[in-house]
Amino acid sequence: MFESLSDKLQAVFDKLATKGKLTEADVNAALREVRLALLEADVNYKVVKDFVARVKERAIGVEVMESLTPAQQVIKIVHEELIELLGKPAPLDLSGPPPNVIMLVGLQGSGKTTTAAKLALHLRKNGQRPLLVAADIYRPAAVKQLQILGEQIDIPVYSEGTEVPASTIAKNALRHAREKAYTVVILDTAGRLQIDEQMMQELEQVRMVTQPRDVLLVVDAMTGQEAVRVAQGFHERVPITGLIMTKIDGDARGGAALSIRQVTGVPIKFLGTSEKLNGLEPFQPDRLANRILGMGDVLTLIERAQEAITEEEARAMEEKLAYGDFDFEDFLQQLKQIKKLGPITDLLGMIPGMNKMAKAVDPQMAEKNLKQVEAIINSMTRQERRNPALLNASRRRRIARGSGTTVQDVNALVKQFREMRKLMKQLGLTGSKKKGRHRGRRGPNLGGLMDLFGG
């Protein structure tokens, strides 16, 4: 469903064939795609409108840089504007006399309790003495949940059960923190709808008695168009100072962050990146911008590939391919190069348009496959690797035993290898004929290996 924006833009510009300056027609055509991408990422409709208008104003008449295609030029502008809009990462405000109070607010199920524990852990790592306060007296077992989490990370949790009003708990907790010299107090409040008058009053009371330095709105990355209203609702009653976006480890694109940032003007402070309690990252505008646009992280991938594979290695490989004397040793070397690039899940996720495939491919299986292939090749003798024709039934049985696989697995690999070699021979030959246009000499190798992931 989510094609990469850059692919779409490329397609648009292939038709336009622009030279020199970006004309209004170019920009309009491109921005239609940008608009769609942002809407698919759940950025609020009105925010998208404003944003697109801004980009349009900036983009028309811009000289297309020599190193870029028009599509890339537009993306560059969009990207820059997006980063600008997302704002700079902001630290927590711990400048007051201790204990500084941080209050977490949000809808039900946005992840406040887990985030409270994560924040506490994060703060302790930075030399603070945090105290967690269980002020959610409504949800069944919410207090218990925070207590368990506190235990896991060995951070004390202040609670008074569920019979005492939240504001009283908060007040007592603050006194307790002063007595015991805690430096930060993190208030976990009950989830509530921003239109629930009674609950919002409670929040105002808690805020009044504790005077928090930071009121952080916890928002689920999957939130849709509604995000704007939720943020406004909370902001009006308990002025928020920052945003924490949770569940960013899923495949939601998190456009809500942009919407909220736009309507409230408060900075995004952290991203919740996993269910584990160390899964809290300071916000980075460029990465979130890429995510919202659905662009993957190509730059990182290119950097990594350059680090992992030297020019020489690549050239030697290409020659082998062209002459068709690619053997299991080369195959093994290739595998190792790919592994140097990082986990396959990450890898596929970074390639635009591959996001979808990354999911289809079933990363665990792919990693497992790779490991199995490596084990099989490692169980071959050097001779066998250089000359796969040697592999008769008896040798295959031995290899299967040695690598903890079955003869069928070995057979499958040998067959796959043969087909791959045939394919590469063809690719290699055509590749060397059109050397000028050949985009990366690693292209075909990686492509061949990609087949394996599917298996």
């Binding site: 469903m1 769609l36 809407l39 698919e40 990422a41 759940d42 609020n44 409709y45 809808l107 039900q108 199920g109 946005s110 992840g111 409504y138 949800r139 069944p140 077992a141 919410a142 218990k144 949940q145 925070l146 207590q147 368990i148 989490l149 896991q152 709808l193 921003q194 239109i195 689920d220 990355a221 999957m222 939130t223 849709g224 168009q225 509604e226 995000a227 209203r229 939720v230 569940k247 480890d249 899923g250 495949d251 939601a252 694109r253 456009g255 809500a256 269910e275 999911k359 079933d362 990363p363 665990q364």
Partner: protein
């Protein structure tokens, strides 16, 4: 008027009233505006454009919005509709058609033991929904057992225990961190033997659909159920937060593939969120909405009625 149009009975059931009440806020807000929109006298291009915008703001999603608007436009043209009121009716009909389930809910069928899984991403409201479902079916004379299959999240079992108490049903639970498939196995045994239950509602840990291992765990639970009870699980309900945007479609898709989701429970519909994403889910995946959660009380669960839903969304 619309109800008559679809040949529905005139008096509202309790469920309908509840659903409509919860949608009242929504109605007076955004979707209410669609109603006003159609009170204009002429059908103009601006009207269609604004309609598009409003549907998108309701999280209906670009693709489905386009299709809805297009279909409505086409019918308006083909049927020579001139008044905006009638065009509005056409839109309502198209939306309802999109939401109508093609299959009956399997929970009510007579069976020795019916097994229902409740799945979803973190924080969507699974445990709460389970409590409400237990109460609902207990009220209807079923012998219900809850299975505490969320052994991961801190205090999830305690939370379910509290709901079980409130609903007055039995619960089968083990210690946190135990294998959910094992808990399920015990729960099925207990339901069949000592508890003599005819409805087993299974809680599962929240998981993002991108977490491969956790999705595999669900598959395993499904296998365990299928081995012990014929054709189990009979329903797999995906709990979806009404405020979820376009990711809802990816969620439904992934959970359908691994867990075989058969229906959706739309939760937190008592806020201003519209849950418009369910239109796309139904259209793309054919998974119907079965229940809606309309509050935090144990009774706040209503059977989904597409007519009432659309009526509530758009205003009368």
């Amino acid at each position: 008027m619309f109800r008559r149009l679809f040949g529905k009975k005139e008096e509202k059931t309790q469920d309908e009233v509840r659903l409509e009440e919860s949608l009242q806020k929504t109605r007076s807000g955004l979707f209410g505006r669609i109603g006003t929109l159609f009170q204009a006298n002429e059908i103009t291009d601006e009207l269609w454009e604004e309609l598009e915008e409003l549907l998108i703001l309701g999280d209906v999603g670009m693709e489905t919005t386009m299709e809805l608007v297009q279909r409505t436009q086409e019918r308006v043209r083909r049927e020579g509709i001139k008044s905006t009121q009638d065009a509005y009716l056409v839109l309502k009909q198209e939306m309802v058609r999109m939401l109508e389930p093609t299959e009956p809910l399997h929970i009510d069928e007579p069976r020795i033991l019916t097994v229902v899984f409740v799945v979803g991403v973190n924080g969507s409201g699974k445990t709460t929904t389970l409590g409400k479902l237990a109460y609902r079916y207990k009220q209807r004379g079923r012998k219900v057992v809850l299975c505490a299959g969320d052994t991961f999240r801190a205090a999830a079992i305690d939370q379910l225990r509290i709901w079980a108490e409130r609903a007055g049903v039995d619960i089968i639970a083990q210690t946190p961190g135990s294998d959910p498939a094992a808990v399920l196995f015990d729960a099925i045994r207990a339901s069949q033997e000592s508890r003599q239950a005819d409805l087993l509602l299974v809680d599962t840990a929240g998981r993002l659909q991108t977490k491969y291992n956790l999705m595999q765990e669900l598959e395993k639970m499904k296998r365990v159920a299928a081995k012990q009870v014929h054709k189990a699980p009979h329903e797999v309900l995906l709990v979806l937060d009404a405020s979820t945007g376009q990711n809802a479609i990816l969620q439904a898709k992934a959970f359908k593939e691994t867990a075989g989701v058969t229906g959706i429970v739309l939760t937190k519909l008592d806020g201003t969120s519209k849950g418009g994403a369910v239109l796309s889910i139904q259209k793309i995946l054919g998974v119907p909405v079965r229940f809606v959660g309309t509050g935090e009380g144990i009774e706040d669960l209503a059977e989904f009625d597409p007519v009432a839903f659309v009526e509530g969304l758009l205003g009368e």
